[in-house]
């Protein structure tokens, strides 16, 4: 009997790509800015999973390093973009609790 695992991994990767495409539609058509940010965050999570599965498909699981890096960078990027959207600047000292800028929220 042939080993069925490569085909299962391939199917998993294809379904993950389907999920990523659905997230991209929300990213393009999202009405508010936070919808787009949510779509980017979820897209990044699916990308991490896809990189892990892809490492198993090409039989070189060393690529999981890249997935690890991407998971951390995805989180940092989300927080940085949120900070920029909330305070309209990246050089805000958060230790003094600044007022969020309320204009043009969406």
């Amino acid at each position: 009997m042939r080993d069925p695992m490569p085909y299962i991994m391939l199917a998993t990767a294809l379904f993950l790509i389907v999920g990523m495409v659905l997230m991209l539609t929300r990213l393009i058509g999202g009405p508010s800015l936070y919808d787009r940010l949510l779509a980017v965050n979820s897209f990044g999570t699916k990308t991490v999973l896809f990189l892990c599965v892809f490492g198993f498909i090409i039989d070189r699981p060393d690529g999981i390093d890249i997935a690890l890096l991407y998971a951390l960078m995805n989180f940092i990027a989300t927080i940085a973009v949120l900070k920029f959207f909330s305070y309209k600047a990246l050089t805000v000292d958060l230790r003094v609790i600044p007022e969020p800028s309320k204009d043009d929220a969406s």
Binding site: P4, M5, I8, M9, T12, F15, L16, V18, G19, L22, M23, T25, R26, S32, Y34, D35, L37, L38, A39, N41, S42, T45, K46, V48, L49, C52, V53, F56, P61, I64, D65, A67, L68, A71, L72, N74, F75, T78, I79, L82, F85, S86, P100, K102, A105, S106
Partner: protein
């Protein structure tokens, strides 16, 4: 009591298997593959359900709920299925690290997005809501 009965019932089966020289490595491979398929299918179900929820749900907070909940559980399930297939402790350690970081950062990012949206005055939709049908879309 019940455990003792189960063990006593299983004892001749195990002895017969040992006598029949069962290949335990192939048995473990079969169990591992079955567990991997179940885990990957469950994870894909949660990930795709979250994606469909993000497309279909009416306002921002419900969409955030769909994406935040399902991504965490689906990612953990898929990574568990991959850990069962990994050979070598380095790969297992890296996959565990990825699972740990996703488990920590995904709810944190979801909370941060919700908090920022709430502070910026994003309002949830209240009241009864009917999902659009195909006639509404057309």
């Amino acid at each position: 009591m019940m455990l003792a009965q189960i063990i006593m019932a299983a004892e001749p089966v195990v002895r017969d298997a040992a006598a029949a020289n069962v290949d335990w490595v192939s048995v473990w491979d079969f169990v591992r593959n079955v567990l991997t398929v179940i885990s990957l299918a469950g994870g894909l179900f949660f990930v795709l359900a979250g994606a469909v929820g993000v497309i279909r749900l009416p306002d921002f907070y419900t969409r955030l709920h769909a994406a935040g909940m399902t991504d965490t559980l689906g990612a953990e399930l898929i990574l568990f299925g991959l850990i069962l297939q990994a050979d070598g402790w380095q790969v297992i350690a890296k996959l565990l690290l990825v699972a740990f970081f996703l488990f920590v950062t995904s709810p944190t990012a979801t909370h941060a997005v919700a908090h920022a949206a709430y502070k910026a005055g994003e309002k949830p939709k209240l009241g009864r809501w009917r999902a659009p049908t195909l006639e509404d879309e057309a």
